[in-house]
């Protein structure tokens, strides 16, 4: 029986305890969903960078750069954080550099884990199968928002955890996992309705960036599972 743990914020991530484990980075609105979409559309690889300075350096070296802070595209970047930016035409066959407020920092925080992958509703079945096949302990790592708890990432974690428990191969004694599952059970009967109260839903609406939310809640848009290896995400 393998173990499920859930971490609600990068500030709560206990790297020393998760060495060698299978870590799923969940940033539903929008980094995880955008990264999964990019791989569905044939991106070759994505280099996640934590800081704006690093993103700028890569731009100067000629890379295509996706970079945002608080939802706004950085001035030097080619595009921002909406999954709709990552089209076949723009990213197919390319290596791009990506920096976001929360998601890409979490990937770096997880270094030292046995496996680091990007999870969203868009690749939930493919990724769940991969986790089950790995026979490893799993950490559902919610990127949150500026170290705060976020509802949408918690619901994503709850959805993964529910499926893993149903497989019969996983168990949990983690309070965060129980909470995520119970919130997911409440939310899933009307996910779109439930997500309306999430702070990130309001933030995106206020900036006119909420056109992609319904898409980000869609299950199984792709079979791609972006895995972090030697500094880059690859399929």
């Amino acid at each position: 029986m393998k173990r499920i743990e859930t971490c609600f914020s990068p500030a709560l991530y206990e790297g020393d305890r998760h060495k060698g484990e299978f870590v799923v980075i969940i940033d539903i609105l929008r980094a995880s969903s955008a990264i999964c979409t990019a791989f569905a559309n044939g991106v070759e690889s994505i280099i996640p960078v934590a800081t704006v300075a690093e993103a700028r350096e890569y731009k100067q070296k000629g890379y295509l750069v996706a970079a945002e802070r608080d939802g706004y595209v950085l001035d030097f970047a080619d595009f921002g954080n909406s999954p709709f930016n990552f089209t076949k035409e723009k990213v197919g066959g390319k290596t791009i550099v990506y920096s976001t407020t929360n998601g890409t920092g979490s990937i770096h925080k997880a270094e030292g884990a046995g496996k680091i992958v990007v999870g969203s509703f868009l690749n939930i079945t493919a990724l769940t199968d991969m986790i089950i096949g790995s026979d490893m302990d799993v950490v559902l790592f919610c990127a949150g928002w500026k170290n705060r708890f976020s509802l949408e990432d918690t619901l994503g974690a709850g959805s993964f955890a529910e499926r893993l428990l149903e497989s019969g191969r996983f168990s949990t004694i983690c309070d965060s996992t129980f909470a995520a599952i119970d919130l997911w059970k409440q939310a899933k009967v009307d996910l779109w309705g439930y997500i309306q109260k999430a702070a990130q839903r309001s933030r995106l609406r206020d900036k006119g960036l909420d056109d992609c939310i319904q898409f980000c809640l869609e299950q199984d848009f792709t079979d791609s599972v972006p895995c972090f290896r030697e500094g880059a995400l690859v399929d």
Copy 2:
């Protein structure tokens, strides 16, 4: 309209944002419940200390000292962390020193707030009335367990938040508060049943310290609201 925020762990507490606000420290199993019981039983004041070394110093000065780590009474202490220790006979009219794994550290972390009080199910109605009367923004600060999210503190926060929203004087845009309320709504129909899956419930059972859990979930055992003032908790 005043604002409710919920903080799920000392590691997530944003002291700079909560200056001047009304902070409720919630450590249901067991520090909050024990402190409320001590005041119900006539303790004069409680000096919360964060470290074992400080607790030991106070003992040498002749104080009655309650001190535990991971549920175990420290060797030099007079008693531990069960509310059943804080009887009229032992604490009535006295000033005691108190140090616990999570609860007392959270009180110190909140210093700089406008008001710091100790909340539990045992004093929920009296404290809710005080919060409403204060006309201040409120932070429901879950002590958690070694910086981790804990179910029982979250349910406590959800119960306070539900009552505050029902008063019509408070609103929230905080994801943690929404989550706490939704978990509380699920749990309250059978709180004793729900709490069985909490990690702290198992920790206390493993140590034979779970005799007090049902008591800690009782509402309105006392009208006392322990307030932190000039280094000590007073009624």
